[in-house]
């Protein structure tokens, strides 16, 4: 009992510190942005710019779970492409758009289920290999189905998903959906026994197995969720583009993983939380938005983001090098 308390306290402590760091950075970047561009402090501008890559945000939420259990999923971008293509094709075949959207969700969840099945069933098959293969298979299928074509012409209400605002406010619809999803994931991960099992798997999988955590089943669920979120991302991305193509969402997997890591999620498992990744999402967006407003060239932007990513991830190590040593000792 005592051990568990101290463990959760410490965990809380780490998460807490990290999130404050992100908040400070967000405030810092906002001040700098506001100084550099007279256009920055605009409510509409900030809202719209936050909504620009929220479809990646959906994927970050579930990727957080995947990373916390110490796995990785690099097939998500390809799942987005396949879900989008299948959705567009089923609409073109005459299904109502609402049903086509369900097709996208089912495709995403199905691909994720397949990943999870292989990872949990075949011992020794690591997630990186399975999802690397999945990554080329899913996008490959999308290319076989659609080739160099694009499918568009969706009903006009469908574009509301990515471009619409709630009522007469300036709040983008996609943001409301995202906040809903984030709350669900936050509760699931931080307020349920299931969430604690997720952390347990990441901190010490062997101990977790011996204390009765159904590892295989958990992995199955988490990878399926990750696929499902890619399906949701596909729905919003396709709505934003107004058309579907097999090459959409290229490179999203790396950005999604980068945001999660920036949010304090450790790729080696067991660390991180939903609040952190949401803050990281805002941080990353404001950074890009600010640089975009002053027209920093694309390649320079990539370099700056890379530096910020490494710098921010390194910070806590610099701060808590003593604490880090203490932890290592305790584990030994």
């Amino acid at each position: 009992m005592k051990y568990r308390n101290s463990l959760s306290n410490r965990k809380l402590n780490i998460v807490f510190k990290w999130e404050w760091l992100l908040v400070i950075l967000i405030i810092g970047i906002s001040i700098v942005n506001g100084r550099l561009s007279p256009h920055f402090w605009s409510y509409t501008g900030i809202m719209d710019s936050l909504a620009v890559f929220l479809e990646k945000g959906f994927m970050v939420l579930s990727m957080t779970l995947v990373l916390i259990i110490g796995d990785i999923d690099i097939s998500v971008a390809s799942i987005v492409a396949l879900s989008s293509v299948l959705m567009a094709m089923s609409y073109k075949l005459g299904l109502p758009m609402a049903v086509a959207i369900l097709v996208a969700l089912a495709t995403g969840a199905g691909c994720g289920y397949l990943n999870g099945l292989l990872i949990s069933l075949v011992p020794g098959l690591s997630a990186i290999i399975v999802t690397l293969a999945g990554s080329s298979i899913y996008r490959g299928i999308a290319y076989i189905l659609l080739g160099d074509q694009a499918i568009g012409g969706f009903p006009s209400w469908y574009s509301y998903l990515a471009w619409g605002y709630v009522g007469k406010t300036n709040i983008p619809f996609v943001m409301v959906v995202f906040v809903g999803c984030a709350i669900i994931y936050g509760l699931l991960l931080h307020r349920t026994a299931w969430g604690r099992k997720v952390y347990a798997m990441g901190i010490n999988p062997v101990a977790a197995r011996f204390s009765g955590v159904p590892i295989a089943q958990m992995k199955q669920i988490i990878f399926t969720l990750n696929g499902l979120m890619a399906g949701i991302a596909a729905i919003f991305l396709t709505s934003k583009l107004g058309s579907s193509r097999p090459n959409i969402a290229t490179g999203y997997e790396l950005e999604v993983i980068a945001i999660a890591v920036l949010g304090g999620v450790s790729p080696s498992g067991g660390k991180g939380g939903i609040v952190g990744v949401c803050l990281a999402l805002i941080l990353m967006r404001l950074l890009r938005y600010g640089m975009g407003l002053v027209n920093v060239p694309g390649q320079v932007m990539m370099v700056i983001i890379g530096i910020v990513l490494v710098g921010v991830v390194m910070l806590p190590n610099i701060f808590s090098s003593r604490g880090g040593k203490r932890r290592t000792k305790e584990i030994q």
Binding site: L36, G242, G251, G298, I318
Partner: protein, 335 residues
């Protein structure tokens, strides 16, 4: 805490360092290219800047690091937030930019696509580099001159289904009907699918199947340089003439060794210049992008807006630029 401040300071100073302030006198025109670090696109950017300078507008040049439509959407959103007056874009996707460009139009931003069009719903007008008829005609005229208006010629195209090339080839056949070409015979059309090795082999095949072949037209950049290499390797320089559409950087070698005396391509600097000039005229209301409007575009001369094949409107840049031994060295480093 000290370290944190240091990091914050570093981030801040980097942002300051890379910032380019655009204080607008006149209108602000944002040019969004397929990707940055692409010589063809950079050349278009130089033209755009020149036109903006002449009109007293300020110019923003932007593009994603990789040629994706998602990256272009993010940039367009940023340009909307900056309240630019016009956007010139060479699209990474014909359809997928329409929603975001409609949002831009809703914010009273003029949209000009150039080089690679966006669907009519997302633009006011398109600046088309390729006047299909002229492109077809000029290549026939060039090859006819090279072979002295007599002999067998062949066409080495890209894919059999490529719309661009097929349109040009139709115009070539049209041009060949002119009596002055009566001694020229178009013996075959082969397809290299825009693959270097396949185009090379197709060219080699032509030499075997048609030993009297005098000339080849290759209206595709990949096909043209592959054919030039094939002519050189087969020792046929001077015996089989070659023209087509190509990139100066790829073709300089073959112009110098005589495998290809002259070839054509549009000039990206002029293209960027015209697009950005049209954007300026849309902003000040001189034109609205309707069919039939006439205007004068600085050093490029007079233009008329015409109906485009995709249902929108467009401006045709004009005849493609001719590259030969006299100017190739000047252009080979540009694109």
């Amino acid at each position: 805490m000290k370290k944190l401040i240091t990091v914050l300071f570093l981030v801040a100073s980097m942002v300051v360092f890379f910032s380019v302030s655009a204080f607008a006198e006149g209108y602000t025109v944002g040019m969004v290219v397929k990707n940055v670090g692409n010589p063809f696109m950079d050349a278009a950017g130089r033209g755009g800047e020149e036109a903006c300078g002449e009109l007293g507008n300020s110019f923003i040049f932007q593009g994603p690091a990789t040629p994706t439509v998602e990256g272009q959407i993010e940039i367009i959103e940023n340009l909307i937030a900056q309240k630019v007056d016009a956007i010139c874009i060479t699209a990474n996707d014909f359809d997928a930019l329409v929603p975001v460009l409609q949002k831009a139009k809703g914010n009273n931003i003029k949209v000009v696509s150039f080089d690679s069009a966006v669907a009519p719903g997302g633009r006011h007008v398109h600046v088309n580099q390729a006047d299909a008829e002229l492109i077809g005609k000029l290549q026939v005229q060039a090859i006819a001159e090279m072979i002295g208006y007599e002999g067998e010629i062949a066409i080495l195209s890209a894919g059999a289904t490529m719309t661009n090339q097929n349109t040009w080839i139709e115009y070539m056949k049209e041009e060949l009907k002119d009596p002055k070409y009566e001694k020229i015979e178009l013996v075959t059309i082969v397809y290299g699918d825009d693959l270097r090795d396949k185009s090379y082999n197709e060219a080699m095949g032509l030499f075997k199947s048609y030993p009297n072949l005098k000339g080849i037209i290759s209206p595709t950049t990949v096909g043209l340089s592959a054919t030039a290499k094939a002519i050189t390797d087969a020792g046929l320089v001077g015996k089989v003439k070659l023209t087509g559409l190509g990139l100066p950087s790829e073709m300089a070698e073959w112009v110098h060794n005589g495998a290809c005396e002259a070839f054509f391509l549009w000039n990206p600097i002029d293209l960027g210049y015209l697009a950005s000039y049209v954007a300026g005229l849309l902003c000040d209301g001189t034109i609205t992008g309707e069919v039939g409007e006439e205007f004068s575009a600085g050093r490029m001369g007079d233009y008329t807006i015409v109906e485009a094949e995709d249902g929108g409107t467009e401006v045709l840049l004009g005849p493609p630029f001719r590259f030969d031994a006299s100017n190739i060295d000047e252009w080979k480093d540009i694109y």
